[in-house]
């Protein structure tokens, strides 16, 4: 019995996330597993059985059956999948509402700008973290731009593209959201586990797409407060190749300096 519940609680290979929302994602993933593993095995089993059982062997003079229709059977395997699909949809619908919920008053709101090929994180007080990776060596994390945020609080991210389509993606958040010129995308994230998480652009955006990485540094709220208080308004922390921009505050309103253009 214990083993059985152990099996039922399996994540079917999915990693566990670090946010309050990821719970819904994993529930849904498990639910899909409960349906698809037995169905997959059933269909595969029927195929294997049919092939092995009805295979023609040498000296076999069976006559093949010549039936063609069996309406009750056909109706059954139309209706049961319809019901299953409806159930999956029901669970999905309620999970979706939780995952996409937006708080009216988030604890922190940060703007995330993507450009070819780096990130800019703008805080309410005007503090800016900006940077691109080292294009020569993907094995170093030194120069990556860092998104700092508090744990156990609702953080609202406003994702904006300064040039082409990018996607904000952090594996541990179990979440992707696109940065599309002309579209305002906002989502909430509430990370329960402080730590350092790698993130990466997840939509082909040109030559150095693979290098468009960043780090998320999630701190306990008190620690975050201390960090935030230490960041003077309109300061810039640069990283990577855009070190030229150090100390140039005008950049906040001119992302074009980094992408070459904002035309799209």
């Amino acid at each position: 019995m214990h083993q059985l519940t152990g099996l039922l609680a399996t994540n079917f290979g999915s990693p566990s996330g670090v946010t309050t929302q990821d719970h819904y994602t994993r529930e849904l993933w498990r639910l899909s597993g409960y349906f698809s593993v037995p169905i997959g095995l059933l269909v595969l089993g029927l195929i294997a059985y049919a092939v092995l059982r009805y295979r023609r062997r040498p000296g076999d003079d069976r006559k093949p059956a010549q039936f063609q229709y069996h309406i009750p059977l056909e109706a059954t395997y139309t209706i049961i999948p319809l019901v299953i699909v409806a159930v999956i949809f029901g669970f999905m619908y309620s999970a979706e509402n939780h995952v996409n919920k937006i708080a009216a008053k988030p604890a922190v709101a940060i703007t995330v700008d993507g450009f070819q090929w780096g990130w800019r994180f703008v805080y309410p007080n005007g503090h800016v973290q900006i940077g691109t990776a080292d294009y020569n060596n993907i094995n170093t994390n030194n120069d990556l731009p860092v998104l700092v945020m508090p744990s156990n609080e609702t953080v609202q991210l406003h994702v904006v593209s300064l040039d082409v389509v990018h996607t904000f993606y952090v594996k541990e958040f179990l979440f992707n959201r696109d940065l599309i010129p002309g579209i305002n995308n906002v989502f909430d994230i509430n990370v329960t586990k402080p730590g350092l998480y790698p993130g990466q652009c997840n939509n082909i955006c040109g030559e150095y797409h693979a290098y468009m990485r960043f780090l998320v540094d999630v701190m306990a709220p008190a620690q975050y407060k201390a960090w935030y208080a230490n960041q003077p308004a309109c300061s810039i922390t640069t990283a990577g190749v855009s070190a030229i921009q150090k100390g140039n505050c005008s950049v906040i309103n001119a992302g074009s300096n980094f992408s070459g253009n904002t035309q799209g």
Binding site: G13, S14, P15, L28, W29, S32, I39, G40, V43, L44, I47, A50, V51, Y54, R55, R56, K63, P64, A65, Q66, F67, Q68, Y69, H70, E74, Y77, T78, P81, L82, F89, M92, E96, V99, N137, I138, N141, V164, V165, T167, Y169, K171, F175, N176, R177, D178, I180, G182, I183, P198, Q200, N202, N203, I204, G206, Y208, H209, A210, T262, Q263, G264
Partner: protein, 558 residues
């Protein structure tokens, strides 16, 4: 009636009908025949061979990519070359190989034969379709010869990355023109095949006696007519943006990049079924013949195909769940619903094998490969159809694994079709020994390549990245995947060798080597010009079987 009865006196086993020459005198052969022929069989072969060449070229690109990814922080090719590789690999595989191989190659060759027609409705138009298609293939390849290289933005070329300012140079234009030409070719083929099916069916061949393959091709052709013009229009708009300073997709000038995504996927999802349905048809034919049974649930099968076609027009935004700009529940519900007719097909396939006498030859093995892989790809499809799960898995290697299972499942069916109809096309069989070896290598290699990619996706590896950090936990799985790709490559070589060497040396097959059921087995192998000298009476959807096995007719009722 008397006419029909007279016809039954023809025996169809081992019988060699006299060739019916319409035009007396010498006929073109060799290269001249290849260039000028309006015969649907020759054009079908042209498509099949050209598509296989495209498969080889795109396959080499896949091996370049897998070699680049075999270890982290690799510098086998540069970023730009890698981006060219996946863009042209995907484009060739979809627009030049997988689609045309089935709907234009097998479609051309088989549809007239299966409905008892002498040729396509518009034979010269058919010839033009092929040359447009070859032109498209050439333009796509020509991108590599230009100074900025071929297109580098992926097969769905999201604006504004495709705008002149971000993708300068003729590579992107050649990509637009190349796909545009293959699209036009597809539209022409669709017009041709639809007309053929509606007007050239033999007496007795009513719609509900057409083989499932013909039904699936017919629905595919309607999908082409609905989808490709939208793609062509989107390409025209992008061309205007690139060269005439248009603003369709340029946000800074009031354009809407998201419009591109909607237009593209409005084409793109039906395209997925344009790629899949013909292979469903191929597999259905092979399963029925090799089990020596009628297709189980024939009419339900057709209903399933029609509803897949209809639903596929309303699910495009499931590729755009993460844009935050689509109505999630609607597209999720429609996408999940497609699982139902697909499931019906699976059970019908099982029903077709049930209580048959199954011949487990290479063609049948490839069909089983199709069934198992498509099943798996279908299940991961139901997972990705749920927006919440897609938020997690979107654009990761999980998606790469999913669509390769679906597509290569289809290709397995296509290879089965090659083994199955090769005797009809050449009069000879492909070697079973090499065939089984090729199957084993491809099946093993394929699963080794793509199964680990599900896990890679769950571990957060994005698609379309040229290299990756060594500390992400992706190294071992990528290594497995690359080794699998090399094994697949060997399997493809074995199969190709079998294909070409059997052309002259294969075992003589005779007209109806598999005890086939549908009309193409009623003419000689290869069929003469204008196909049929005489037709058996068509009283069910398997006229040749009825003629050869009057004691084993389809049971009526249930």
């Amino acid at each position: 009636m008397t006419l029909l009865e007279q016809r039954t006196s023809i025996t169809f086993e081992g019988h060699e009908p006299n060739l019916m020459e319409i035009v007396p005198g010498p006929r073109p052969h060799g290269i001249l025949k290849y260039v000028t022929s309006t015969d649907h069989k020759q054009i079908g072969l042209n498509y099949l061979i050209t598509a296989m060449i495209a498969f080889g070229v795109a396959g080499l690109m896949a091996l370049v990519m897998r070699t680049q990814l075999i270890v982290p922080n690799n510098h086998f090719v540069s970023e730009n070359v890698y981006n060219e590789m996946f863009t042209i690999h995907g484009t060739l595989m979809l627009f030049v190989f997988a689609g045309p191989f089935a709907f234009a190659g097998f479609g051309n060759y088989l549809v007239p034969l299966m409905i008892g027609a002498p040729d396509m409705a518009f034979p010269r138009f058919n010839n033009l379709s092929y040359w447009l298609y070859l032109g498209g293939f050439s333009l796509l390849m020509a991108g590599f010869l230009t100074n900025n290289g071929a297109a580098q933005f992926g097969w769905f070329g999201y604006a504004p990355l495709t705008e002149a300012i971000h993708s300068p140079g003729p590579g992107a234009d050649l990509w637009l023109a190349g796909i545009g030409l293959t699209g036009l070719s597809g539209i022409f083929t669709a017009v041709n095949i639809i007309t053929t099916v509606f007007t050239l069916r033999a007496p007795g061949m009513v719609m509900f006696r057409m083989p499932i393959f013909v039904w699936n091709i017919l629905v595919t052709m309607f999908l082409i007519l609905l989808a490709f013009p939208v793609l062509t229009s989107a390409f025209a708009m992008l061309w205007i943006d690139r060269h005439l300073n248009g603003d369709f997709f340029r946000a800074a000038h009031g354009g809407q990049p998201i419009l591109w995504q909607n237009l593209f996927w409005f084409f793109g999802h039906p395209e997925v079924y344009i790629l899949a349905l013909p292979y469903f048809g191929i597999v259905t034919e092979i399963l029925a013949t090799m089990s020596r049974k009628p297709v189980f649930g024939y009419k339900g099968m057709i209903a399933a195909t029609l509803s897949i076609g209809a639903l596929s027009m309303g699910v495009w935004a499931h590729h755009m769940y993460t844009t935050g700009a689509v109505l999630l529940p609607f597209f999720a519900a429609m996408s999940l619903l497609i699982a139902v007719p697909t499931g019906i097909k699976f059970f019908n396939w099982i029903g077709t094998m049930w209580r048959g006498t199954i011949v487990l030859n290479t063609a049948m093995l490839f069909c089983l490969g199709f069934l198992s892989m498509f099943l798996f790809g279908g299940i991961t499809g139901v997972i990705l159809a749920q927006p919440v799960l897609d938020f997690q898995l979107h654009n990761t290697y999980f998606v790469v694994a999913h669509f390769h299972y679906v597509l290569l499942g289809g290709i397995m069916g296509g290879l089965g079709g090659l083994y199955y109809w090769y005797p009809k096309m050449t009069g000879r069989k492909m070697s079973e020994k090499w065939g089984k070896l090729g199957f084993a290598l491809i099946f093993l290699g394929f699963n080794l390549t793509f199964f680990p990619q599900h896990d890679l996706g769950l571990r957060g590896m994005p698609r379309r990245i040229e290299t990756y950090n060594a500390g992400m936990g992706w190294n071992f799985l990528n290594e497995l995947s690359s080794i699998g790709a090399y094994i697949t490559g060997v399997g493809v070589l074995v199969t190709a060798w079998n294909f070409f060497s059997s052309w002259r040396k294969g075992e003589i097959a005779g007209d109806n080597p598999w005890d086939g059921q549908t009309l193409e087995w009623a003419c000689s192998s290869p069929p003469p010009d204008h196909n049929f000298e005489a037709l058996p009476p068509i009283r069910s959807e398997r006229p040749v079987w009825d003629a050869n096995h009057p004691d084993m007719l389809t049971e009526v009722g249930h």
